[in-house]
Amino acid sequence: MSSLVGIMAMAVRALLAEQGALDVTSNNISNLNTAGYSRQRPVLVQADPVIQGPLTFGNGVLLEKVESLRDPILELRIHAEEQQQSKLETLVTGMSQVEVMFSSSSGDIGDQLSKFFNSLQQLSADPTSIPLRHGVIMAAGNLTSAFQTVVHNIQQQRSNLDLNVTQSVRQVNSVTQQIAQLNVQIASMENVHQDASAFLDRRNVLIGQLSQLLDVSVIQSDEGITLTTSNGTALVAGSRSFQLLTQADPSGFQHIFAQGADVTASLVGGQLAGLIEMRDQRLPSTISDLDILAAGLATSFNTVHHGGYDLNGNGGGDFFVPPPAGVTGAASSFKVQVSDPALLAASSDQSPGSNGNLGLLLAIRNQAVAAGQSPTDYYANLVFKVGNEVATNSAAQDASGLILQQLENQRSSISGVSLDEEAGNLLRYQRAFEAAARVVSTISEVMDTAVNLGRY
């Protein structure tokens, strides 16, 4: 049988335990809107019993620990989905900018292509007309500048993406540094069995940020966590972070180096992977598609033009500036060679009024000049390709967004603070505190009674 003092001590322990619980509840409510916060729960346990002879008395309550509720596996899945999501977002944003240039409008390549052929057609009804010959050269000029404008814009976009790469790498470095510091704090607290929840939550938020930038694999180890990219490049190992470096390649684009190795092409997730894929693959591929069309047009026009005769009866020269060998750069250097309208080789029989060669030039409209397709068909396919890329990626982005939302809901259902729940808890702990306080005062009265025994 325990002493009155013992009971008093038990009640005081209860007061302290409930106060601790109120503290946790208050902290939960305070962090209702804190990003990455995992709700906490007081863990109350029975104190070790007191054994007196055959009797065992309970010895009250202890606030053993405060635990955070989180699901590490779920966190990993969320991070993985965030990588996917932000990569897709970068791709969709990038390709949407390209798409604008391929939207059907007056002035896009398709439209200028039609106008150019139409100007030839117009000339064929009146082949000696100088104004109409001017018209052909102007329409050809508009066509070539449409190509140049698109390529110029895409190149501009590539330079902008390149700036973003540098910025993202800087962000990665700042985040990995912070994670390494947190690792130190977490390790030192956990070594002395302290609760590092607050730091864990913060680290989790940072890993989330990192996941938006590049693909991160998390490996739990004794000295904290190790972060690597999915191909094994170390980013953080315990208390150490490894900086990524950027260095321009000969073409002026930044490559990413980790401990001396070029990891540019090996990134598969996050914004950086998206930026690099746009910069190094998608945009160049669109340009080289345009190169093929420009080179095909220039070559076939020149060939036919050589076979005709100009207004002075001389054989035709190059109509377009011949494309560079190997096609690369054909779109950006696409230019009209002929500037004197009289030098347009419309005639097929050396007489000025013949339009025979114009007929042959016009026939190119339906000839396979680029990858086995007519110019318009090839361009239509290009429009399809660009549009399809945006459509496919934004569908994937929507799907990934829904998955992410689901995962975040799951996370929130485990770790999120519910005000109803906290209100209930607050009431519960308050009542328990009041009751324990009542016990203290009751025992105090009992002790009074005991002290005054025999006075009367």
Binding site: A125, G353, F384, V386, Q405, N409, S412, D420, A423, L427
Partner: protein, 295 residues
């Protein structure tokens, strides 16, 4: 099971989705196009590229037809006056064949015919917008020149070239007849026939045969004129055909890339309703929690 206590994220996502739907529907209604950028429907966007190209081409065929028509009509009218002039030459020849005429009378007829010859050369040198219509493809050079060294008295500086202009998909229309074919056909040479008539009148020999020669030339030119009439007819029916092609292309464009107005409007009102409902629900949920009921 514990439920997700924080519903605001779901609500925001739902609101964003309905807003996006409303925006898309609104754009479709206001622009009249279902495909406003390639990603709206990549296949349709590619089809539309071809469709626009064909529509532009059709417009161009129609413009070409208009500009050819002017030239063909002028050439046709000119040949008509050649025919009239040849008729006059024939009647002068018939007059000259009358045996009662004096040498002086026949000579004056021959002088008249010399005038007609010069007139014919003038007519045959017709130019349209700076081009000689009957010069073959050598259309920058005056095709017919009076030249005493030639047996017919007229030299042809044009060529035998013909031009064709596309006035439809795979439809090349010949747009000129070279002057050599019209005026110097070996079977019925116009200038030679007039020259022969002049000579025979001056020498009073073989006038009848010479008149027959002019008649043959008259028949020849009349026959050649049919070409222009034919070409003009063809152009007219081609114009009608191209008009229907344009209509069909416009219909196709609307089918592939146009907005189904009724559907778009109903999607718009659906999206707006969904948005209102979501906002209402959000307002209800956020209003109370347990704290409101505790004292």
């Amino acid at each position: 099971m514990r439920v997700n206590p924080n519903t605001s994220n779901d609500l925001l996502q739902a609101l964003q989705r309905t807003e996006k739907e409303a925006e898309t529907a609104l754009l479709q209604v206001s622009s009249g196009h279902r495909v406003n950028k390639p990603s709206d429907d990549p296949t349709a966007a590619a089809v539309l590229v071809g469709n626009h190209a064909r529509a532009d081409q059709t417009d161009q065929y129609l413009r070409s037809i208009t500009s050819i028509q002017g030239e063909l009509r002028t050439a046709d009218a000119t040949l008509n006056s050649v025919v009239t002039t040849l008729q006059r030459a024939i009647s002068l020849g018939v007059q000259g064949a009358n045996g009662t005429l004096s040498d002086a009378n026949r000579n004056s007829l021959a002088d008249d015919l010399t005038g007609i010859q010069a007139q014919l050369v003038g007519i045959a040198n017709l130019s349209f917008q700076g081009r000689f219509v009957f010069a073959g493809t050598n259309s920058k050079t005056t095709p017919f020149v009076l030249d005493a060294t030639q047996p017919s008295g007229v030299r042809y500086d044009g060529n035998a070239g013909v031009n064709s202009v596309a006035v439809g998909e795979g439809f090349q229309l010949q747009v000129n007849v070279p002057g050599s074919q019209l005026f110097s056909d070996p079977g019925a040479p116009v200038f030679q026939a007039i020259q022969d008539l002049i000579t025979s009148l001056q020498n009073n020999i073989g006038i009848d045969a010479a008149v027959t020669g002019v008649r043959a030339a008259f028949d020849h030119v009349t026959t050649q004129r049919v070409f222009y009439g034919n070409a003009l007819n063809q152009l007219e029916s081609q114009q009608t055909f191209l008009g229907s092609v344009k209509l069909q292309l416009a219909t196709e464009e609307d089918k592939v890339g146009g907005t189904d107005l009724a559907a778009a409007l109903s999607r718009l009102s659906d999206a707006e309703n969904a948005r209102t409902a979501t906002l209402q629900a959000a307002g209800q949920i956020a209003r109370v929690n347990l704290f409101d009921f505790l004292k």
